[in-house]
Subunit: 217 residues, 2 copies
DNA sequence: TAGATTGTTAATCGATTAACAATC
DNA sequence: TAGATTGTTAATCGATTAACAATC
């Protein structure tokens, strides 16, 4: 179904399409033109049509796109109908936040376990998912066919944890640490989230506008 | 100091340069060539030189770049030496995680307050910063000259909160909600973090490799 | 049918990579 | 000095935008 060589830029826009199409559907809007969708996406009609045509001709000439049909198509393209088994490692603040807030089942995953090495919280649950002892993480992943891990641990623990997981067949990672997984495991599928990088980018942009005020005065 | 028209791509790489240069400095490495830095950055020597030359000639021909000097320059370019006054709104899981983990003072910010409307946690502290009543948020920002806000609240509360903040002079946002701030405030400086979009992107990529296995079998 | 809007090709724009003279 | 490596210009590559024939 998915064509090859879809550019990274297109892929990064897909969740946004999905998000806005979901909102449109909730508003009972059942058709939309590339132009109107572009306005919502803060994009251009051309780009919308180019993006969607990477995956197939979902539109109807002279009419536009069916909102529910297009939303379904994008869900399929993203793989949101899948249930990849995932665990979350590290039930600190970030891990707890992630486990508590995200609707994994709406995003292609099933969270089957949470792991931490703080004995005091073992056995507790977050959204019905049990917090288990990190000691048993490899065995658990093998026994349950876990495919993905969300890493919410300190960087210092990352290398060893990923080794254990990779050996147990877990090869897809959502990585909140600064450990460079692909360096050691080129075959791994990794999505990095570097919050501190993003905050520094904000700082740059604030700085930039502050400086431009100075220049104009 | 900062030149104009630096591309978004370059800016997004700056925190990475800063991060790796910090590590190099910790290892007491005091000079590096564009080629070696590129290897660490998983980039190319050309790109490293192009990127750095957006801001000035920091290198020495025949020698390379001084690690501490370059790190300092990038810190200045990013504005990490600034102390923009910021508040965090929403002391739920994500807000608490952000407040507890990030070294704001290393990233150009000073966290001067945390706000929540859960009366039970008012007066508590996270990293010495007090949790205060959201009721008083506008007054606090005006009194303290707050410039930036980190929004860790539900989307439903975002529009009203941003209005209150903007009226109180807070115009820079780190936005964890899906509320589109720039739609209502085009002048605002906004850095969005859409965790669910990132997770969907991971799902797409997992899907992609799974499908490619199928094709090859 | 006429108007609207797609799918798709061509043109433009921007970012990355390559090349090389300048110079430490 | 010779070797190394930058700064910078030119070439390539990829992504976005524009244009328009196809068609509902």
């Amino acid at each position: 179904m998915n064509k090859e060589n879809i550019s990274k830029s297109v892929i990064r826009r897909l969740p946004r399409y999905y998000r806005f199409l979901t909102e449109l559907e909730e508003q009972d809007i059942d058709k939309i033109s590339s132009g109107k969708l572009a306005a919502i996406m803060r994009s251009t009609a051309s780009q919308v049509r180019q993006d969607l045509n990477c995956f197939g001709g979902f539109g109807h000439q002279g009419y536009g796109y069916s909102v529910p049909a297009l939303r379904d198509e994008i869900a399929k393209i993203l793989g949101l109908n899948k249930r990849y088994k995932a665990i979350l490692v590290g039930a600190g603040h970030i891990g707890t936040a992630i486990a508590a807030h995200l609707r994994f089942d709406m995003m292609g995953f099933q969270l089957v376990g949470i792991f931490d090495n703080n004995k005091e919280i073992l056995g507790a649950h977050i959204n019905r998912v049990e917090i288990m002892d990190s000691e048993n993480i490899g065995q658990f992943c093998r026994d349950n066919g876990v495919q993905a891990a969300f890493l919410c641990i300190p960087r210092s623990a990352a290398k060893q944890t990923v080794k254990t997981l990779y050996d147990a067949g877990v090869t897809r990672f959502w990585n909140f640490t600064h450990y460079y997984i692909q360096g050691d495991y080129p075959e791994a599928v990794v999505e990095n989230v570097h919050l501190s990088d993003m905050l520094m980018t904000l700082c740059y942009r604030i700085n930039e506008v502050e400086n431009s005020y100075d220049e104009n005065e």
